[in-house]
Symmetry: C2
Subunit: 128 residues, 2 copies
Amino acid sequence: MKTKAENCIRAFANLEQIDDCKKQIDAVENNLNLMASALDLVGNNVRLKILYLLNQHTNLCVCDMSDILAMKAPAISQHLRKMKDRGIINGIKKGTLIHYYLTAEFADLFKDIFKRIEKGEVLKSIAI
Amino acid sequence: MKTKAENCIRAFANLEQIDDCKKQIDAVENNLNLMASALDLVGNNVRLKILYLLNQHTNLCVCDMSDILAMKAPAISQHLRKMKDRGIINGIKKGTLIHYYLTAEFADLFKDIFKRIEKGEVLKSIAI
DNA sequence: TTATTATTTAAGCAAATACTTAAATATATT
DNA sequence: AATATATTTAAGTATTTGCTTAAATAATAA
């Protein structure tokens, strides 16, 4: 059944297109939410730097990263927990240290992004 | 010159690695910030849905999207402005309507992401 | 002109975010 | 056992975010 337009009250509104769009979103809504959530997780200065480092080093601990990024350990730890909870990184205990590493699935999903970062192929036009 | 470690005070800390990491980040810091900023912009439920729609339709106006996503027009408008300010979308006036569309640069950067959304190839492991 | 529709802007607010400091926990060393 | 180091957790706070409503602006139609 076709749902009525609530906001587009102009006579020539393309109600069929609006309806099609609703269906298109519906069909992949869960994927869209998952992807948005993943992009949001990675779309943070500190977290992206951590991930960039972990993509090249597999034996970094919290205090290493704390030194590298010039931030307090709890701040780093909280970012790491957030990423670990979401399954994009993992850690193994080495004595009192914990070495963090990227999960294979995430490393694969973001290998192009990392390449672009190295080549400077980010959006030229984007203004922060 | 080698900078001293502030947080890693353990005897066997790998100061050279820490220093290398600092240099690696330094070398691409601007790219990292740009990319994080772009990912953050797109990493929002509503904005990603808008972009997904604009990737398939080039003649949607604010009130269309307002209907499709069941949100008030100002909310949509504010998201659009944010994306327009950052140069990933643009709009052309058609009478009282404004048709929004993706910039070519953004459409190219995110075509893989859109494909993944359609195929359901998002991170399987990620938990929202 | 007046009325209508679409859009933007502004102001206000609740929720989320990212840091801080201080305290708790875990492991290793003396 | 006592100390030291690394990490996490908890609590507090300032900033940011995304929505809401109401008002302003723009363009068209009657």
